[in-house]
């Protein structure tokens, strides 16, 4: 069979295969993103009339103390969320993988929060954690413990949204890691056992290194997920108390869709946010690839 010459016509085929998807992606993601950047250079309160303001929206945002407070909240939330959800889902995946009975039922149980509507998640937890009549505080009072204002104290409210975020996403990330675990050759563990390796040593020396690529995917997805958190927080705390749980997506949403509408300002905040999230994701990816290559 004759070898194909490099750069000949058949190389176009792969691009044609992805073309339909790229068209949809371009139309509904890339085009709005470019248009969003364009709008960030204008001032508009109605989406019909636009006044060119150059970089004024960016200057306004970067000099707005509320923006920086929101940025700080977002960073705190994302770091804590990524660390906790990765560690918890890793631990849970290892436990589930070692489970002999009821594995399917347990997996389903942990996956349930993933399929619940975020709005419902927010409402459920707001009822559970309300200071006056919330389930948690009723239980605490029942055993003579103080009943804290989970959604009233700024620090506690931040901890609450992080933990609820972990609860919601735990099942999803556990499933990804479980799939990674099941692709590890069981003979490696057999050999380690024969050599007298403890369970902890097996985890440290076999599981974690071989699971690194999957863990990196989880970290990247969790970071994106953390940066994008909004819906359940909106129904749980409304960004309160006193803005303590207002994250960046809520800041953008409020400027874009709540009176007074400021499309340009919201778009500028969106552009900055995109650059940051893209940068962090790429950094994660590159660090992961470098470690993989080592």
């Amino acid at each position: 069979m004759a070898r194909r010459r490099r750069g000949s016509a058949p190389r176009l085929a792969p691009y044609l295969f992805v073309l339909p998807n790229m068209l949809v992606f371009g139309l509904f993601t890339i085009w709005p993103a470019i248009n969003g950047f364009n709008i960030s250079l204008y001032d508009s309160s109605n989406g019909r009339t636009f006044e060119y303001v150059g970089t004024e929206n960016y200057e306004r945002i970067l000099s707005d103390p509320a923006y920086w407070e929101t940025a700080r909240n977002t960073v705190v939330y994302t770091i804590a969320f990524v660390v906790l959800v990765t560690a918890a889902s890793l631990a849970l995946a290892i436990l589930l993988n070692a489970q002999q009975r009821g594995k399917g039922a347990l997996r389903a149980a942990y996956f349930v929060p993933v399929v619940i509507s975020p709005v419902v998640v927010g409402l459920i937890w707001s009822w559970v954690l309300t200071r006056q009549n919330g389930v948690v505080n009723e239980l605490l009072r029942g055993v003579g413990l103080p009943a804290p204002g989970w959604l009233l104290d700024p620090a506690l409210a931040m901890i609450v949204i992080i933990l609820v975020g972990v609860w919601v996403n735990l099942g999803f990330f556990t499933m990804i890691l479980l799939a990674g675990l099941q692709s590890i050759d069981p003979n490696l563990y057999e050999a380690a056992k024969l050599d007298g390796a403890t369970v902890w040593k097996q985890v440290r020396q076999i599981t974690l290194p071989l699971l690194r690529p999957t863990t990196m995917v989880v970290v990247i997805l969790a970071a994106i997920n953390g940066f994008q958190a909004f819906d359940y927080i909106w129904t749980l705390t409304g960004g309160g108390p006193v803005g303590a749980t207002t994250l960046m997506v809520q800041y953008i949403y409020e400027n874009a869709f709540q009176s007074p509408i400021q499309y340009g300002l919201a778009s500028a905040a969106g552009v900055i946010f995109f650059v940051v999230v893209f940068g962090v994701t790429m950094l994660n990816y590159l660090v992961g690839r470098r470690r993989e290559a080592m």
Binding site: Y15, N35, S44, R48, T49, S126, G239
Partner: protein, 436 residues
């Protein structure tokens, strides 16, 4: 195609696309003043067979009343009205998206018409320069555009005021206030604490988390955001006194601090606290009458607002607007006018427990079939409410100022800043808004 060629082609396309987009304005760059769309004559006979879309948000029982009136309109004109119900929270977003997408509805019910100012029909173009005179002066003034055209028709007004649990007051042996002998804030709080204790209630006082409702208290303490000339009218000392009192109520537990802070930046009604009989008095407004008539399992009543330097409450209201870019602008203008004729507004007010906006209906009064006495209390407070309160409510910057008031007052309630700082921040915002 080589890989290099493909890359070059992709990069060049993306660059050209971006450059072209960035060079383009996403819309028109100049605000176009709204012009009267009509020629002053409308012939209702032409509307037979035509269809009109009315985008509507509902406060509760008013939807059925509106449908009933629409049925009358359809019978009279032969036109069809499609009622599109949207949630209040998404109203502005929905309308703006539709208008900018070239899919404007004909008519909408809105709480704030100014975001659509450039696409609204001037009703005086169809119904004459003196058309605004049919409505209460303070409210009509709030419906006029910059060039004096009437861009919105006030369809119902709201009046903030207290609702009380009558059974709880009777059990405590505490007299309810009357229009002749109203409470002041001090006597009201003292009475409420007595009622709270006698009934073992959780709180003494409840108020919605709303800048509009706090404006009621500011008004009673003799101050507000703006005066009739659009200038800042906030008296810092009086505002600090009013906000200090509300903060004290929450810090002492007489009002729910939890309710206030757990809502974040969202609006929240405290009606559930009142309906659960956890509080003897709830400062809200007349729109609760229809809801409580159906939902309250105890005897309740509206009572006159407490008097401080001023009496009365704080006005609000909804407007009907007709869009000039809608499919049937003439029919839209006619429908808005028809819905707000004396006999039609009266019918709607009676069925929906609304307060009228027309001078003739305010003068003649309305006989409400249900809870008429409560509606009369709110109507009486309309007359007690000072002009500056109407000016504040109608000011284009009111919504933004109210949002800042809530954000800053939250910090006071959370113990992060004193009342003086809250008032200073509010004053700075008002100065900025007045200068726009």
């Amino acid at each position: 195609m080589t890989r290099r060629t493909l890359r070059t082609f992709t990069a060049a396309t993306a660059l050209c696309l971006s450059a072209a987009l960035v060079a383009c304005s996403p819309g028109t760059t100049e605000e176009e003043p709204a012009a009267p769309a009509g020629d002053g004559t409308i012939d209702p006979a032409e509307f037979e067979g035509k269809t009109l879309e009315y985008v509507y948000f509902t406060d509760g029982p008013d939807e059925e009343a509106t449908r009933e009136l629409i049925a009358d309109f359809e019978e009279e004109t032969g036109a069809t009205v499609e009622l599109s119900i949207v949630p209040f929270d998404g109203l502005e977003q929905t309308l703006q998206s539709r208008i900018s997408g070239g899919n404007s509805p004909d008519v909408a019910r809105v709480a704030n018409w100014r975001p659509y100012e450039d696409v609204l029909i001037d009703m005086t173009g169809y119904f004459g320069e003196d058309y605004p005179d049919q409505f209460i002066e303070g409210i009509a003034a709030g419906a006029l555009g910059a060039d004096g055209g009437m861009l919105a028709v006030p369809s119902d007004q709201t009046m903030n005021g207290p609702l009380v649990n009558v059974e709880a007051f009777e059990k405590a042996g505490v007299e309810l206030p009357t229009a002749e002998d109203p409470w002041d804030w001090e006597s009201m709080i003292a009475d409420l604490e007595k009622v709270q204790q006698a009934n073992d209630m959780e709180f003494a006082f409840a108020i919605d988390k709303s800048g509009h409702r706090i404006s009621t208290v500011l008004n009673q303490f003799g101050t507000g955001f703006f005066n009739a000339d659009g200038e800042v009218a906030l008296d810092d000392a009086k505002a600090a006194e009013a906000l200090g009192l509300l903060d004290e109520l929450m810090q002492s537990g007489a009002a729910s601090k939890d309710f206030w802070l757990e809502q974040g930046s969202r609006y929240a009604g405290a009606n559930e606290i009142f309906l659960a009989e956890e509080v003897p008095l709830y400062l809200s407004g007349n729109w609760q009458v229809g809801l409580f008539a159906e939902a309250a399992e105890f005897e309740w009543a509206a009572v006159p607002n407490p008097c401080g330097e001023n009496c009365g409450g704080f006005p609000g209201g909804k407007y009907m607007v007709a869009f000039e870019d809608g499919p049937e602008p003439e029919l839209a203008a006619y429908f808005v006018e028809w819905m707000n004729r004396t006999e039609n507004q009266e019918k709607l007010d009676q069925l929906a427990s609304w307060l009228p906006t027309r001078n003739d209906l305010v003068e003649s009064g309305i006989e409400y079939p249900n809870r008429g006495e409560d509606m009369s209390v709110f109507l009486a407070d309309v007359a007690e409410t000072p002009e500056d309160a109407y000016a504040t409510a109608a000011h284009p910057g009111f919504d933004e100022a109210a949002t800042v008031l809530i954000e800053e007052f939250d910090k006071t309630v959370a113990g992060q800043q004193d009342v003086g700082t809250t008032v200073s921040s509010l004053h700075a915002t008002l100065d900025e808004l007045a200068a726009r």
